[in-house]
Symmetry: C2
Subunit: 233 residues, 2 copies
């Protein structure tokens, strides 16, 4: 039976062998929620990028460029990292390059995985249904915040563990995330509002994002990493 573990911070990924694993990258506030939303708006592909300079370079190649630092859109980019601010836009046939503080860096750490998926509450059941059909071991990789564990990513890891049909786990990492989710699942928005990240994003605009990212199964789609590009599965 397949094994599941939760890796709570991107740097701890060095403790795991990746080549035999399906990795679900999690950055609920907000990179993975935004990526899922971009695909719902028909984006063709999304390149996750580490540095602002590299991301900016894609403008001349015809890409939509998006970047966030310290929770805000970076000047000179088309968009930041707010899913609610792209809802009225159309990304049909658009290629996107995106650089965020935590999430895109985390995605780039998984290039040696067997398969990397992008998970958020917005596409929870799509992810769970896909994982249920696979026999490979699974690593739920939280982006965290500046090297530390965070609440909203742990909660989502717990939601996957709580929903998946058959698995084993030799690690306490799954018990802790599952317990957090199952004791808070009736009010995802309220528990995420208590997170330190939500407090940092607590302006009114950002509260809209937090509410948006707390919605379960708004979209039925799965982004995955194909070499250096995210595409729709």
């Amino acid at each position: 039976m397949k094994n599941i573990e939760v890796c709570y911070t991107p740097n701890s990924i060095i403790n795991y062998k990746l080549s035999n694993k399906i990795i679900v990258v999690i950055d609920i506030l907000r990179a993975t929620s935004t990526i899922v939303t971009l695909f719902s708006k028909k984006a063709t592909s999304i390149i996750p990028i580490e540095t602002l300079d590299e991301c900016k370079g894609y403008k001349n190649k015809g890409y939509v460029i998006m970047a966030e630092r310290m929770g805000k859109k970076v000047k000179g980019f088309d968009f930041g990292n707010s899913p609610s601010k792209i809802l009225e836009k159309d990304f049909k046939n658009k290629k996107i390059a995106i650089a965020t503080s935590n999430g895109t860096k985390t995605i780039l750490k998984t290039r040696k995985s067997k398969m990397t998926l992008i998970g958020s509450f917005l596409n929870l059941t799509s992810i769970v249904n896909y994982l249920d059909k696979q026999s490979d071991d699974i690593l739920l990789l939280c982006s965290g915040w500046q090297g530390s564990i965070n609440l909203e990513d742990t909660l989502f890891a717990g939601a996957i563990i709580s929903s998946i049909s058959n698995y084993t786990s030799e690690s306490d990492s799954t018990i802790i995330a599952k317990n957090l989710y199952e004791s808070n699942k009736d009010d995802i928005f309220n528990i995420i509002k208590k997170s330190s990240h939500a407090k940092r994003l607590s302006s009114n605009d950002n509260l809209i994002d937090i509410k948006f990212c707390s919605q379960i199964d708004k979209y039925d789609l799965i982004p995955y990493l194909d070499n250096d590009k995210l595409k729709l599965l």
Copy 2:
């Protein structure tokens, strides 16, 4: 008001400034439970040591030497890391040197703290009462297991957070531990039995240890680190 954070793995301690903090080192199964028990048996002082060779060298200096690897007592040492196996022994006026897989190594990482305390369920209220009187920031440092988060140390961190009178926290690390403790506090032994560490220690002898380490407030004492030696506060 003092700030509290939980550091879930010893290696993540590099993310924190230590010199202004009271650190509580946690290794419920079993190093910190054993150290607390040794002081209840009147040990004079305990030196936490990283390597077996260095620990063995203390035998000729008149120390009781204790060492554990892979959950077992190491050959040639007086004791391993089992608190229940020292209950009938007398350590009055004895100096002890101890090397365990996780716990003693974690203690040694805190030498730059303002104050390092040794915490376990056995001395929970002693620790909480002490912390309640201090105004310094607090870091609850879990030993974990081979670089990953573990259940029993997280649970104890949550017990401290749940019991302490006044604190602030800008970190989700406290919410996650507190939630785990508060949703399991009525049956500490049973939840610890579910931990991966308990499963690794699941022989009958070790079940006695797990039950022993799940007892709350058996002892009213606080070990602290004075340079390289643990002493009673």
